[in-house]
Symmetry: C2
Subunit: 403 residues, 2 copies
């Protein structure tokens, strides 16, 4: 049979990262390619205890169908926490001009995809930071949307560039941003740029999808206001998850968005998976209300501070000074850039020969044909020993590569 | 802000069933409106024990990211069982002309949505039985596809009608069928019609999406071959789940499809939720391999046989003979049809006044503007007492309504 696929999927390739993840069966390879939270960051014993309690106290409800919006006590707990920590969530009752609504989704990934599905027709444009999170780029493409990039600078995209890209793309329907501990670059957008970006989006009535999966993982520098906290106009869809603070494999995330948008996303979610695994929604709620989530997050921050500092120190020692890298204040990633004129793909291949895996920067390009001098390193997954040994191998590769 | 939504979602309404589910907070209402498995069908103690074992034996893997295709041991166990029970799954190694691939999805709902996403552009047509499962119809609509119906008869759709609808719809990209214990009608398509439908689809190179969520729940009559078991041409996408045999709330389903189609669906799934909750994939695998799944399913069949027979008996006694109803051999639903000229919506309203909820037939129409004389009853969720009392109320409503 000669299969005919939809235009939006015919061209879409599996994410290079997932493919690398799949091929990392060689135990002699040290992987800096993942985006996984550290295995030691999972609070296994407490989750096991809460889990046993759910089976004992409310098993039937935890195994039966539930409503699409999410487990109401979890929605409440999430809304409360986002309000307290990030100043997120408007309500008419509090004198705001609109209501935000909190919805539970199957990981932040689903929040991203649903936002695009709700707002974009095939051929519409999503404006993204360039580079950007491959999972989001592919989600937009899988909806038939076109991704157009605004180049990342050291403190986020240039708002004037954003304005230009908006004017050049009349079919732009959404701006996608990861302002805090950006994936893949590790960059945090400055407060000044956040405010200007919000003002520009508002002037153009262009919704912003603010993706903040790493927001709670700051281990250096000062907290900056989320763009959603500035949202007096009702144009920001805020998306985050429990993946980096509790468990990635359970696939529980959340969205805070103006009620009309959130409602459309719920309708779309109903058609995708009816609702998110209800047992784990209950588990998240129990952990939030009966365990010490703040203390747990402090421990993860300390762990990642240590791992990041270790990797940065090793990179400084092992890499030629012509290779530049970012210094993240949180999150999971460091972004390395080879000197002008280098063949990045050849370097990544050489690194793999030396048994260290990194993700080529082209993976994260909005324009899939554009070149890149960069590659992404992850420090949350490898052990300390692997970080030291892996960077040493990377250094060897670099010294052989850059003459 | 003046929100502009995508065309495909602007018109889509939340599923009436989910809305009814949401509004059923009045404890005096007896609901025949759900599609939930019986609460007593969940093997709580065994799931709790397997769950504790997972936390003890492989917690980290159960909480970490995993691959999109699904937990490999679960995929294997599912493929083996589908082969044994339903004769499903071709392989080049066995001398077939193509390979089928088994993929784990977040409930059967996701399998349905992914199939449409992979095959249909906006404006393409999905041919469905009329009436059909509202969750599927809305999934197709949420992809921008148009649903066109072929009328249901007592033993499935008329193949000649199908042929006519195909010829009238050059943009038809897929045929969606629930041949066994159809939702909402409870009808099972005859073997003869299954064979003719398959032959027609093959001749037109038109993929079939065979949805079989209730296939294991036969409590009367003889097993019929699935359409997928006839698939020597590689055109059938088979979709089912654990929702009706283990737990609906965990959202674990599966797809068996020719490898090129399954691969595209995996790419689309990656953008929707990365993968299905891995803990519960492991739980399903343990239940399949360490518990008595067959014995458990026998018990559910006996339970539903009893509930269905009870409801049919009560309907016979309580309803005027002018109201017709189907006699399912499995599954969850009975389909009642009022005499010609009746106002079905008014009847459903009257029933609700009598404190019994049913789902109006219009909900399940491919053409949302078309009328219906029918309504759907569910017997798996209510208790025996509720079945007796609820049908009594339905009878009162009918006697007041039909003069």
């Amino acid at each position: 049979m000669n299969y005919q696929f939809s235009d939006k999927l015919a061209a879409l390739k599996p994410s290079a990262i997932r493919e690398i993840f799949k091929s990392l069966t060689d135990p002699t390879i040290i992987s800096f390619a993942a985006g996984n939270p550290a295995a030691e960051s999972f609070p296994v014993e407490e989750l096991a205890a809460h889990s046993a309690d759910i089976f004992a106290e409310c098993a039937t409800a935890a195994l039966q169908y539930n409503i699409t919006d999410g487990f109401p006590p979890l929605r409440e707990a999430v809304a409360k926490r986002q309000k307290e920590i990030f100043g997120i969530g408007r309500s008419l009752a509090a004198g705001d001009t609109f209501d935000d609504m909190t919805v539970i989704v199957s990981g932040g990934q689903q929040g991203i995809e649903l936002a695009c599905k709700a707002l974009c027709n095939e051929g519409d444009v999503v404006i993204c930071e360039n580079p950007s999170f491959i999972g989001a780029l592919n989600a937009f493409r899988s909806c038939g949307a076109v991704t157009v990039g605004v180049e990342m600078e050291e403190d986020g995209i240039d708002p004037d560039d954003l304005e230009r890209v908006i004017s050049e793309n009349p079919r732009a329907k959404m701006i996608y941003l990861i302002p805090t501990f950006h994936n893949p670059s590790g960059i945090t957008t400055s407060e000044k740029k956040r405010r200007r970006i919000y003002e520009i989006a508002k002037r153009h009535s262009l919704p912003i999808l603010e993706d903040n999966p790493y927001g709670e993982l700051r281990f250096a520098g000062e907290e900056l206001p989320t763009i959603k906290s500035m949202d007096d106009g009702g144009l920001v869809i805020y998306c985050s998850s429990f993946s980096k603070i509790l468990s990635a494999g359970m696939r529980v995330g959340f969205v805070v968005a103006p009620e009309p948008i959130a409602t459309k996303m719920v309708v779309a979610k109903q058609s995708e998976d009816v609702h998110t695994n209800i047992f784990f929604q209950m588990l998240c709620h129990r952990f939030m209300t009966k365990s010490d989530l703040d203390g747990h997050i402090q421990a993860i921050r300390a762990l990642y501070r240590h791992k990041c500092e270790l990797m940065l120190g090793e990179l400084e020692r092992e890499l030629p000074s012509s290779v530049k890298f970012t210094r993240p204040e949180g999150g999971l990633f460091i972004w390395c850039t080879l000197p002008e004129g280098s063949d990045m793909s050849a370097f990544v291949k050489k690194a793999l020969e030396k048994k260290v895996a990194v993700v080529p920067g082209t993976t994260f390009n909005c324009d899939t044909d554009a070149p890149s001098l960069s590659f992404r390193l992850n420090y949350s997954t490898p052990s300390d020993e692997q970080i030291v040994e892996g960077v040493k191998r990377l250094g060897e590769a670099a010294r052989e590569f850059i003459h």
